[in-house]
Symmetry: C2
Subunit: 546 residues, 2 copies
């Protein structure tokens, strides 16, 4: 076989766009199976809506409607009451991969990549040849509508039918509608209904209405009506910096001196800290122009940073869900018999990126997963309140949960109705893939989740062992009580005293020995009533039929 | 809290490059842990070298050298004897993400994305601030060297120090050298040594020399010296097309008629098939200009395609490793006591993309994984001969292997020294992520792998049960033989005949009853010798010390 030269081979050399890449590799974006793909579409639009509402300071109202329009072909429409998108940005926002308002900012949001919505447009186009339809109304009452496609060769939006809506069709928020083939609606653990249910669980301030392809309407009621605090952008912490990061910040700064650059750019840098750095790295000239910073100097600075005793990164700009809100949401959606919610103190990963882990364990109610034999535990994973339904084996949360010896806590994940809830909040979530379905297995994240879950498990352990103890006492109490009447009668006829009086005295005697059981027994009926009325309150959300 | 308008929010809107994206999310490219990151670097360079050699028709000789140059800082150098890279392409080939010779062609290669090598350049730059150093010599004997970095904001190469090498430094092939921090060399199941060992296993025609940071030299000897056939580009099969694909091909064609477009563009389309399509979809005008093809027509055509009885996609351009080559490689690297190699017939996934699955089971020798208690089975995964070391839980191969009830085959994966080998060959491998560490869980791929493994398992089952049977017979044989001498002596003194003669006759009698065992027993010594001399032949590769 004759050899081929490099020149012959490289005649084939070409550049290609990121849109072409994901068109060919759409499974990397979460378009990996028909049911999965439909969830991905809903996920991308809902995530964007929630982020937009929160950035605008609006309590979100979301409506998701899915219609079957052909064989494995569906129309998906998502409507929100958010700020809308300005006309001059709508094309890029919805049809240019790697553009958006989030990627470059140090701010906690659900989305962070600028890929999701454009991915939907791409998926619609390659499976149905259709553009997506958009209506957007901004605060000033002006609304427009248009169709948007994507020029995949150039990764650029293609806009058509742009028109202003007349005043009587005025509209506030964003409405996106697309047609998608190669997708399938299914009521399963990995379906759209479950996705929205979990979204409601981690976002008790959101109201979500869902109209399924069968025409059924479900409403996940808002459980908390406080507008969540707007996520704030922050400065990066010196400990989270790599040498390369530091150099890039130095290139962009307007400061003229290294010291003022450090003071202006990073959190927790004070004049005192500058002095500390000077002592640790006396070779570094703090008067130097930061734009002239060389790699070696930057490397020395980063080394010095690691030796300074810093105040921990400010976690105030990380908004966790909050213990009380998780409690309300769990009550609302799972109505468990017992729950234990744990919020860890802020921690850091990769040296200086702050994160907060919240975990909860819910027992009973609709917690856990029904199986043929009974129940088994399930893990509800969230990242910045976004439910993660796929690729669980690859996720730091699952790895942490599986590393725990649950039996030590008297918990049997294979047979008990238990739901484990974990939410990881951070300005930067290190997803393992572009599809954002699993959190990368960073050691610090796994450790934090593990500690939170172990803490939550201890609470459930106390409850379960109390329950077992109570159950044993109740058995004994019931056995004794069964003989009380007979004993009272016998004693009555033996002593000639009133056997009713004797029975009452005997009962009091027994009750003294089993105070908890007897009180509970009295209150049992009462409690039952309260529970059932609460059940009704939560029941505006009806479970779909299997 | 006052609401923010869309205009205020969208002031933050920005576009960003794919290089910026991966700089921030490098874990998605396989830079997810220190040991893992070092393997990723070696993997990207070795993969490119092997592809280049095969495209040029050269028997590959690869040398990998890793030096520790600081704390978690290493220099990695990879040298091949391939065709080199033309000077005018070297920057883009090594430092522009999403460019290359492979992405757009229908040809089976290891790489397919045009991301890997540029990812290494990016990783070197952000961890050490250094450019990579390249030397390339093409067939005509001319060689040059240069340094290459990446402008991440624009995703463009930055080349410096370009110089032609004098004739006395003439060089044939490609030499790439880079410095990387945040990496670590480790001898483990997920380390560089294991990666190269597995590369040798799936590429018996390759010679790999590895010089480890401790200065140890390992050579994985070439086991087969036939130059593998050059991968051929092919036409796509109609069944593998989506509507969108068809339209894009129609846009690009030089044909003037729909019929000639179909004949020219796709495999297996003949004038007869065109007539068949006409009958199935009489509305389609075959005289039509393909550039005018509308979505609906294309959709109808795709539907018609699915009803035509096609000749299966031509799998001749998919090059599997080959049964004999796998056998030689397993012998060379694992030297197993038993092996069974299975090559499945070509199959298709996603309607029309052909794939070939090869599987092998090796038992004994250095197969399996040593544990504290003994052994356990391990799975060696390959895609187009490239070893997959990470993200195994997420991979179609692992999912298929785990779905098999091994005990039914008398195989215990928890205690036996077994290695399962699976290679999936295709023009397009649907990786689950950009890091190409797992094959997406497409049903057809899982099924094919499962069938191949079950077939391989049956062979091992026969061997193991034969072994058990043999072991039982051998025990009986040995027990009887123990008494033969005594019996011969007794019979000798009783009858007065020569007891030696009697012993010989008795032995012959027993041997007749246990023919296999006795033959084996005679040949045991002989076999031992053969094995040990073969061991020596394979032993030019020394195991690294733990």
């Amino acid at each position: 076989m004759p050899e081929r030269t490099a020149d012959e081979i490289f005649k084939e050399f070409k550049e290609h766009s990121i849109a072409e890449f994901f068109k060919k590799n759409r499974q990397m974006l979460g378009y990996a199976g028909k049911v999965h793909s439909l969830v991905t579409i809903v996920h991308e639009y809902v995530t964007n809506s929630l982020d937009a509402c929160e950035e605008a300071g609006i309590l979100p109202d979301i409506e998701v409607k899915i219609d079957e329009i052909g064989e494995e072909k569906y129309k998906v429409a998502v409507k929100d009451n958010g700020p809308g998108i300005p006309k001059n940005y709508v094309g890029k926002a919805l049809a240019q991969i790697l553009s958006g308002t989030k990627f470059h900012r140090y701010v906690q949001q659900r989305g962070q990549q600028g890929i999701g919505a454009a991915g939907c447009t791409l998926f619609s186009q390659v499976t149905t040849g259709k553009q997506i339809y958009v209506k957007s109304g901004t605060a000033n009452g002006k609304a427009y509508s248009c169709n948007i496609g994507i020029d995949t060769l150039r990764n650029k939006p293609v806009i058509s039918n742009m028109m202003d809506l007349p005043a009587d069709q005025s509209f506030r928020g964003l409405y996106v509608e697309g047609e998608f083939a190669d997708v399938k609606y299914e009521n399963s653990d990995h379906g759209v209904y479950e996705y929205l249910k979990r979204t409601a669980l981690s976002n008790p301030h959101v109201q979500i209405k869902f109209i399924s392809p069968e025409g059924k309407e479900y409403t996940f009621m808002r459980a908390v009506s406080a507008v969540p605090e707007r996520p704030k952008a922050t400065k990066p912490h010196p400990l989270g910096m790599t040498v390369n990061d530091l150099l890039e910040f130095a290139q962009k700064t307007e400061s003229r001196k290294l010291s003022s650059f450090l003071l202006d750019t990073f959190a927790r840098v004070t004049p005192n800290k500058i002095s500390e750095i000077k002592q640790i790295a006396p070779n570094i000239d703090m008067e130097k122009d930061p734009h002239m910073l060389a790699w070696q100097d930057a490397e020395e600075l980063i080394k010095a940073f690691s030796k300074v005793k810093w105040v921990a990164p400010d976690a105030s700009f990380i908004k966790a869900i909050g213990e009380e809100q998780i409690r309300v949401a769990l009550k609302n959606i799972l109505n468990p018999e017992f729950m234990n919610v744990v919020e860890r103190k802020p921690a850091v990963f990769r040296g200086g990126i702050p994160l907060i882990v919240e975990a909860a364990i819910a027992f009973g109610g609709t917690a856990g997963k029904k199986t043929e034999e009974g129940y088994e535990g399930n893990i509800l994973r969230f990242a910045n309140r976004v439910p993660l339904l796929f690729d669980s084996g690859n996720c730091a949360i699952t790895v942490a949960a599986k590393s725990i010896d649950w039996k030590r806590y008297g918990i049997d994940m294979d047979s008990q109705p238990i739901s484990i809830f974990v939410n990881v909040s951070s300005i930067y979530i290190p997803y393992s893939g572009v599809g954002k379905e699993a959190i990368a297995q960073e050691d610090e994240i796994i450790d934090e989740v593990k500690l939170a879950l172990m803490d939550a498990a201890r609470g459930l352990q106390r409850y379960i062992s109390g329950k077992i103890h109570m159950h044993e006492e109740a058995s004994r109490y019931n056995i004794i009580m069964r003989y009380t009447k007979q004993l009272a009668n016998d004693l009555g006829s033996m002593t000639g005293k009133n056997s009713k009086d004797i029975e009452k005295k005997l009962e009091e005697l027994v009750a003294k020995h089993y105070p908890k059981v007897s009180t509970n027994a009295n209150k049992a009926e009462e409690a039952k009533e309260v529970e059932s009325s609460e059940e009704e309150a939560g029941a505006q959300e009806a479970e779909p039929e299997e």
